[in-house]
């Protein structure tokens, strides 16, 4: 019997432990994770491949974290089923753990479409530290020279940079016509693609991989891929980085409501009493779209996990909401994208754009009723948080919207009253 049971010990699970301990110092906490060491930064796994970070650097909490928070971490343990009426979590090794409050923070798993040859050696997914370790080891053991990355989203671009740093020739295959299509409009995407191409990366957009082929001397090893348009690309490795889907398997067949992810309210509670969900597995509130949706992003998982933890421990807390928001550092071009990046023609939206093609600088703001609902900054992200704050607070920017694109944009260009409000010490 444990008062609080948390399944998953990454961003959301860790944040929940911290929140619970702010309210309840004594209630027992049990955290179950399949990973041998879970308190590491998942977004940093590409730095492990490039060699920029080792495991110590990747740890986002100290090894004493669980002890300091008086939480029992069950590493390398897998929860295989739930019994919601008995309030029991069943582990693979037969152990049953009874809970009072349960948090499902099981995260996401890589989406891998069916491809001929996908079972060959050296086909990787890329979402956790063991993927990164296996990939790094394989690069060394086969002296890999070339890789195909499937997917030109955040994960695909990050692993591409890491592979380039390891000296591999990389081709990125993307089904959409444009790279980073969830974060950038076509203009911004073109700017970024040109920079990444200049660094030596090849792109094959508007197509996917129809077949992974073996090597002439060893059919079980990757020798190349055949694209849907028929081209063949030679490579020693394939990395599937299309995206993640929620790991809902524990609740499939139970009374916990699932849409694409687990459905939660603003308290991160599911439809089943005492069962909460947070992080990549949950559909939490998007304050731009004004609806719940999957947003598998680390900072949001932390916020959601914290709200879940507070509520589990009896302190009412409501999730303020997040939105699709990412900052990118890859290939030396900093990018921030928040909210609507590339809305379809919509007469109710106003779009402000500033382009400095020579310096690869691009700024775009999407406004609806004079409130910022979309922000894209390429190669000019300084002070982006001030704009994000205007978005979060849904501030009417009618009187100063032209100033938002100024190169020296900052708090000082805001109207006096707002400037005072926004610069006050919290």
């Amino acid at each position: 019997m444990s008062k609080y049971v948390i399944i998953g010990a990454s961003a959301a699970g860790i944040a929940a432990v911290e929140a619970i301990r702010k309210v309840d110092l004594v209630g027992t906490i049990t955290v179950i994770t399949e990973e041998a060491c879970a308190h590491y930064s998942k977004p940093m796994i590409s730095d492990l491949v490039s060699g920029k970070a080792g495991i110590q650097k990747m740890k986002c909490k100290t090894d004493n974290f669980w002890k300091e928070n008086n939480a029992e971490a069950r590493m390398s343990k897998k929860a295989v089923s739930l019994n919601l009426s008995d309030k029991t979590v069943n582990l693979e090794d037969g152990e049953k753990i009874v809970y009072e409050k349960l948090l499902l923070a099981t995260g996401g798993k890589p989406f891998v479409p069916k491809m001929e040859g996908q079972d060959k050696d050296s086909v990787f997914t890329f979402t956790n530290i063991s993927d990164a370790q296996r990939l790094a080891a394989k690069i060394d053991s086969i002296h890999a020279k070339g890789a195909v990355v499937i997917g030109a989203g955040l994960i695909g671009i990050s692993v591409t940079e890491a592979l380039m740093k390891r000296g591999l020739k990389v081709t990125v295959v993307e089904l959409q016509e444009k790279i980073l299509s969830l974060l950038l409009d076509s203009k911004a995407s073109d700017i970024v693609e040109a920079i990444i191409r200049k660094a030596g990366v090849n792109f094959a957009t508007g197509q996917s991989v129809q077949k992974i082929v073996g090597r002439p001397d060893n059919d079980g090893a990757v020798g190349g891929v055949i694209l849907t348009k028929g081209d063949q690309v030679a490579c020693d490795l394939v990395i599937v980085a299309i995206g993640v889907i929620p790991r809902t398997e524990l609740v499939v067949g139970t009374t916990v409501k699932i849409n694409r992810g687990i459905v939660v309210d603003n308290f991160m509670q599911t439809n089943v009493p005492d069962v909460y969900a947070a992080g990549d597995v949950a559909e939490a509130y998007d304050f731009i779209l004004n609806q719940n949706r999957l947003l598998p992003l680390w900072p949001l998982a932390v916020l959601e996990g914290r709200v879940a933890g507070y509520n589990m421990a009896g302190k009412k807390a409501s999730y303020e909401g997040g939105t699709n928001m990412s900052s990118l550092k890859y290939f030396g071009i900093p990018i921030v994208s928040i909210g609507l990046a590339n809305p379809k023609d919509d007469p109710t939206l106003e779009i402000l754009v500033k382009l400095d093609a020579e310096n690869n600088v691009y700024k775009k703001l999407v406004l609806k009723n004079n409130v910022i609902v979309g922000l894209t900054l390429v190669n000019c992200i300084d002070r982006a948080g001030i704009l994000f704050n205007l978005m979060k607070t849904q501030t009417n920017v009618k009187k100063f919207k032209k100033d938002l694109l100024r190169d020296d944009f900052g708090l000082a260009v805001l109207p006096l009253g707002l400037q005072r409000k926004m610069s006050v010490v919290q």
Binding site: S41, P43, M44, D47, K52, A53, K57, M58, K59, C60, K61, W298, P299, V302, L303, R306, M325, S326, S327, L328, K329, P334, V336, I338, I381, D382, R383, A384, G385, I386, F388, N389, D408, G410, L411, A412, V413, L416, Q419, M422, S423, V425, Q426
Partner: protein, 147 residues
Amino acid sequence: MKKIIAKQEACMGCGLCEVYCTTAHSKSKDIVKAYNSEQPKPISRIRREVNKPVSFAIQCRHCEDAPCVTACLSGAMQKDQKTGEVTHNKDKCMGCWTCVMVCPYGALIMDKEGKVVAKCDLCQGLAEPACVANCPNQALVFKEVKP
């Protein structure tokens, strides 16, 4: 905790806060060397905002519930529970700029050379932060504020 407070009405926008912040965060602690020769180039963690006649200096507010700490992908940004300071460990920083995206004050500075973030550390070890000590018009004060 003690925080740096900017008095807008007293700020002349002279920028000496930036100069002394840069120097305080240099290896040599020498203005001329810090600006002319030191590598890596030290950078100011305080930022002067000027939109005449308005000017003020802004740096990390050491927020109670700091968005940068929550958003930090690597664990480099932490809230010191004892002192209240928001600390940044540059050895852990992965330079992802997520904190830059969420800081409502624009107070986190991108060290583009070092590819990590730089921020106000309240000049630990000095009696008073360098920007406060060297502001010619006392537009920056270091005083106790309620959390």
